[in-house]
Every structure is written in structure tokens, then in C-alpha cells.
Amino acid sequence: MASEISEQIKKYTARLVADTLGGRVVWTRLNPTTFGWDSTDGTQARVTLQEVEVPRVVVGPSGRTVRQVKRYVLQATDLPTRQVRLDLDSRQDEIIHASLAELYRAVSDSISQRGLDYLSSLLPPEN
């Protein structure tokens, strides 16, 4: 059952990645590690994707060390009621982690590309 849900999540995030890269879903940066997208077609909702670094204790030959491990949180909030309707944490399993990591990269790349396009539009034409 859990893997079935994971597969569904994988499918939806793949669609989101494609829509993001295709410019149909436009994200904005809300803070250095969080992106948001407001869906206004039909249901008014806000989807946010956050990258979180979590300290993990690793025991190795040189003793005990703390490493920062990345995890991703995808949330969808129904705007009229301000209710969080989806709260997805990549800690749940590997498939979700890989899907959300891919989505985060796609969103980050699309925002960087928009910034670069804007910079390009500011530059004087090349002679």
C-alpha cells in the first residue's frame, strides 16, 4: 500500500517537474530554501516545497561525527480555509525522497533560468 502511494506521488511529481520546466507552473522563492506555487485554476491553493538539512550522527573509524542530510517537504494549503491538505516528507521512503529531490532541482533550475533570462533582457544588444 505504501509503495502504491509512493508510486502515485512519483507520478504526480513527475508531472509537476514537466509543468515546471515547461513554464506551465511558475514557482516563486519564498526564502532561500523554499519555493511556492499558487494554483488559481479551480481550487485556490498554495503548494510549497522546502529543502531541510537534518543533522545525522554517523559513527565511522574516526569516531562519531554529525552530518547534515537533506530532506524535502511538500505541502499544499487550501487558501480559502488556510488548511494544510497535503504534507509530504521525503523521510517517508526513498521513492518519495528521490521524487521530491528531482522536483526541487527542477524548480530551482527554472527560477535560476528566469533570473538569467531577465538579466539577459537587461543587457545591451551585442554588436
Binding site: 519564498l30 526564502n31 523554499t34 511556492g36 510549497t48 531541510v52 538539512e53 543533522p55 554529525v66
Partner: protein, 187 residues
């Protein structure tokens, strides 16, 4: 002339008599000697006791200081566990600054102690990581903070737990030092 000769004779007789009964054979000499030796011994004993009292006072001072350090760090640890899911960036920023300042002030006198160094380094590393994690959720612009549910909490929950764990290790070492100091103080 006869009188001078008699006087001289008397002096010589006294000298001969004195040489036959030296001062060290007289009880006064031994009484004075014993009293002097006892006086010296008492002075040495008093100096030793004073030095021991000073050491005991220093040990008591260190014991009290270690206890207050342990109590202060325990208070900080309790505060770290109080982060709320709805916490705002500026609230957590202020809380982290206060906690960092307090921890650094309390453990600064012990950073050179070899048996505490690893635990203290771990606390400093956890504080630095928490600062980085907080910087990563600084709202831009600030008005958008409310648009991300629990963003600061999600970013800081693990970092605060990490500081707490490092602090717990350090508190354990301080408690052990307190016990050692207490034993020494008791003796």
C-alpha cells in the same frame, strides 16, 4: 696588686667552674630548646593547615561553579525543547542568539580542558549548523513568511535537537566533574 690578683683568680675559677658545667647540661637550655622546637613545629603545622584550607576553599568554589554551570546548561536544554511549530523567523532568531550567547559564556572557561574539548567542539558545531539552517529560511521578503507553513520549525527542529544532544553530552561530563570535585571537597 693583691686585690687584682684575687679578682683575676676568682674570674679564672669561675671560668673553670663554668667549663665543667656547660650550658647545654643545664635544664634551662633544654626547656628553651624544647619550647623553640615546639614553636617551629606549631608554625609549620599552622602554615600547612592554612594552605589546606585555601585549597579546600578553592575546591569548594570550583564545585559551586560547576554546579551552577550544570544548572545553566540544563535550563538552556529545556528552552531548546520549547520550539513551537508556528514559530516565526524573528522569534527563533532571537531565541537562537540568546541560547548561543548563554552557552558560549558558560562554557568559555572550560574550552582548554582536554577532557571536555570534544564535547565543547560538538556544541559549537551544532550551534553553527543551527545558524546556517536558520539563515536558509530567512523570509524574502519578510511579508512572505506566513505563506510557508511551519518553514522555520521544519528547518530548526532537527538543529535544536542536535544542539540539545551535544549539550546533554557536555552536561554529563560537567556532572561527573561535579561529583569528582564533591568527593575531593568531602575529603
Amino acid at each position: 696588686v693583691a686585690t687584682d690578683a684575687e679578682n683575676l683568680r676568682a674570674v679564672v675559677d669561675q671560668a673553670i667552674q663554668a667549663s665543667q658545667h656547660p650550658y647545654w647540661r643545664q635544664p634551662e637550655f633544654w626547656i628553651a630548646t624544647v619550647l623553640t622546637v615546639v614553636g617551629v613545629l606549631l608554625s609549620a603545622f599552622a602554615a600547612y593547615e592554612a594552605r589546606e584550607a585555601k585549597r579546600a576553599a578553592n575546591r569548594a568554589g570550583r564545585y559551586v561553579k560547576l554546579q551552577s554551570v550544570t544548572i545553566e546548561l540544563t535550563e538552556v536544554a529545556q528552552k531548546l525543547a520549547q520550539i513551537e511549530p508556528e514559530a516565526l523567523y524573528r522569534e527563533v532568531r532571537d531565541q537562537l542568539q540568546e541560547i548561543t550567547r548563554k552557552i558560549r559564556r558558560v562554557i568559555a572557561p572550560y574550552v582548554q580542558e582536554a577532557n571536555l574539548r570534544t564535547a565543547i567542539d560538538a556544541v559549537y558545531a551544532a550551534l553553527d549548523a543551527a545558524q546556517e539552517a536558520l539563515h536558509a529560511v530567512r523570509p524574502s521578503p519578510p511579508a512572505k513568511e506566513g505563506e510557508v507553513p511551519n518553514a522555520v520549525y521544519l528547518a530548526m527542529e532537527g538543529q535544536f535537537a542536535s544542539i540539545n544532544n551535544a549539550l546533554a553530552d557536555l552536561i554529563g561530563l560537567f556532572e561527573m566533574k561535579t561529583v569528582d570535585q564533591g568527593d575531593a571537597h568531602g575529603q
